[in-house]
């Protein structure tokens, strides 16, 4: 195979094009797709530097420099959005990974194959439903008049809570819903990694007199470390990108909750769809993209320093 590759490299470009024309053609639909839906809109990011109006179009609208960004920074909006997006993602990453590892280790301890299968299927189920259904579930549980939680509070004689107007409660709710929806999915990865651990390590540990806790502490956890580091670093690379569907279907246009729940995606969506505000939303989007890009690069650079084989590029 190596020989073949070396041989390919020596051929002229034209020759290569002709020889691999069928393979190239097979890639054409995908290439067109990404050009049309991903690359073609990129010049539109110029809107961030203009006072966009429909009549003059993207490149005909007056140029305003960094004014749109200035507004975002001065109004404090950019800071709030960045803070919320990053803090939520940090919570998701830290709590998510801890819970996923814990579940994976426990699943591995369970002997009954039937029980393992059933519980795994149950934990994985929330991953399959749409974000809209997450909204339905939230409505069922949390609304003031008929919500299951308030129903329970009333039955026990307590005072029902107006959950949809208490911004302070929502970070907890959102994190719980996120864990509910993604833990089953994430634990599969760790479970597979545990299954990949050499069984003789456990046997050796047992012979040396290690109890169950010590086996987890000295065999399982160290073996999961590479998987953990990679998953965390990659999620850190995406820390500027929020889970839009989750936030939008839980909060939507409920402005009384924005201070603790508005993330970049929801704010951009609202600006585009209900305010027709293309300049500010493009500016926020461009800021998110560039910042996110820098973060991925940094994460990748760190991974490279730890272990070259794990780096993306």
């Amino acid at each position: 195979m190596a020989k073949e590759e070396a041989f390919q490299r020596r051929k002229s470009l034209l020759r290569q094009l002709v020889d691999s024309r069928v393979l190239l053609l097979m890639c054409v639909p995908a290439i067109i797709f990404f050009i049309v839906f991903n690359y073609a809109p990129m010049p539109g990011a110029w809107i961030a530097f203009t006072n966009f109006n429909y009549r003059d179009g993207i490149f005909g609208s007056p140029f305003v420099g960094l004014k749109n960004f200035e507004f975002l920074i001065k109004s404090g909006q950019l800071w709030t959005l960045t803070r919320n997006t990053i803090l939520y993602n940090l919570a998701f990453i830290i709590l998510g990974n801890i819970l996923q590892i814990a579940i994976a280790i426990m699943l591995n301890e369970i002997r009954s194959a039937f029980f393992k299968k059933i519980s795994q299927a149950a934990m994985f189920l929330p991953f399959f439903i749409s974000a809209v259904l997450v909204g339905v579930i939230a409505f069922n549980l949390l609304n003031y008049d008929t919500g299951a939680i308030n129903a329970l509070i009333r039955q026990t004689g307590g005072d029902p809570i107006k959950i949809y107007s208490q911004a302070g409660l929502w970070p907890i709710i959102i994190i719980l819903v996120h864990l509910w929806q993604s833990t089953g999915y994430g634990s599969i990865v760790y479970f597979a990694a545990i299954m990949g651990i050499d069984r003789s390590l456990y046997e050796a540990a047992t012979v040396d007199g290690a109890n169950a806790w010590q086996r987890i502490r000295y065999v399982t956890l160290p073996s999961l470390k590479p998987t953990f580091i990679i998953l965390v670093l990659f999620s850190l690379g995406g820390i500027m990108h929020g889970n839009f569907g989750l936030f939008w279907n839980l909060i939507g246009n409920n402005a009384s909750l924005f201070s603790t729940t508005d993330i970049i995606e929801t704010s951009v969506y609202r600006m585009v769809l209900s305010q027709n505000n293309f300049t500010t939303s493009t500016a926020v989007g461009l800021y998110q993209s560039l910042f996110g890009f820098a973060l991925v690069m940094t994460a990748n650079w760190i991974v490279r320093r730890i272990n070259k084989d794990y780096a993306l590029f």
Partner: protein, 317 residues
């Protein structure tokens, strides 16, 4: 650089070999750990299932009972009223079902074909442009134009506002699915491709009659990811379809039923009909069950394919 991606994903611990039973002798710590595991896993599994039970129960409850005591884990005053309302004038729901099923079937078939073609070509070691094309695709995950410019481009310049194609086309593929397929393709030994070449088969022919038949598990996994994306789609519909189409994709229909009182009424009675005594709370829950029903029914059969997909594509999940 894509070789790097392969390396990482290769580390994901593929291959769910059954664990060999450990030494039989259990000491106290083993018993404690196992008990904790059973209890905690049971609790967490119930936590994951409970919301589904809540919705199911609510959909079979009477509106009066719900208004009086709220939603609960068991049906209150069991009745089929909510479902009767939905199926009395099923035009909206049936229309949405047809739109979503059509999109899901066609989108999955076409997307799967393009994704597997691309994945195959990108995995061919003798394809000199594979790294450039892979990077071209991968780059879109690193940098994007953002929602507003994309929206303007698709809705205005491509003229797809109010057109089902705006939704249908954009869901056809993702970089992650292409990389996943490329990794699956590595399981086809290169010798098979070479033997095909020896017999004088063209590259496309090798793909179609040699590789695809060996790729059934991969096709199932990626096809299911695609189908799920089409079935659960509501976001692009909210952007590009809005209220311009009569029959909204199913989840977007549900979104409207939940969030606007008018949509709820129209969905069961048609517009311009005044309805009194609409059991709105239970009706929302019944609509939700109608919208996820097929997923819940198929779930036991499809779940395991996703497990293999996640395991192989661990990193980019």
């Amino acid at each position: 650089m894509t070789d790097r991606i392969e390396t990482i994903i290769g580390q994901g611990g593929v291959g769910l070999a059954p664990a060999k039973p450990r030494a039989v002798k259990l000491d106290r710590s083993d018993i404690i750990l196992q008990s904790i595991s059973y209890v905690f896993v049971t609790l967490f599994a119930l936590f994951c299932l409970a919301p589904f039970v809540l919705i199911l129960s609510a959909s079979f409850s009477s509106e009066a009972a719900i208004m009086k005591t709220g939603f609960g884990i068991l049906p209150k005053d069991f009745t089929l009223t909510a479902y009767e309302w939905i199926f009395r004038a099923p035009r909206q729901v049936v229309g949405s079902y047809i739109v979503t099923i059509t999109m899901t079937v066609c989108g999955t078939a076409i997307g799967l074909f393009i994704i597997s073609m691309t994945g195959y070509a990108l995995n061919r070691k003798d394809f000199p442009f594979r790294n450039y094309i892979a990077f071209f695709i991968y780059f879109t995950t690193l940098f994007s134009a953002g929602l507003a410019p994309t929206f303007l481009w698709v809705a205005r310049d491509l003229g797809l506002r109010g057109n089902y194609l705006a939704v249908f086309l954009q869901l056809l593929m993702t970089p992650w699915l292409i990389i996943l397929m490329k990794n699956f393709m590595r399981t086809v030994p290169y010798e098979i491709i070479e033997s095909g070449k020896m017999d004088g088969a063209g590259d496309f022919r090798i793909f179609l009659s040699l590789c695809l038949p060996m790729m059934k598990p991969a096709l199932a996994t990626i096809g299911l990811f695609l189908a799920l994306a089409y079935w659960n789609e509501w976001y692009l519909s909210s952007l590009y379809l809005g209220s311009t189409v009569e029959f909204k994709p199913l989840q977007y229909h549900l979104y409207n039923v939940i969030n606007t009182a008018n949509a709820l009424r129209n969905s069961v009675a048609g517009s311009n009909v005044s309805v009194t005594n609409l059991p709105s709370n239970t009706l929302k829950m019944a609509s939700a069950i109608v919208a996820i029903g097929p997923i819940l029914l198929l779930y036991p059969f499809i779940q395991r394919y996703f497990v293999s997909g996640i395991t192989i594509g661990a990193v980019k999940g």
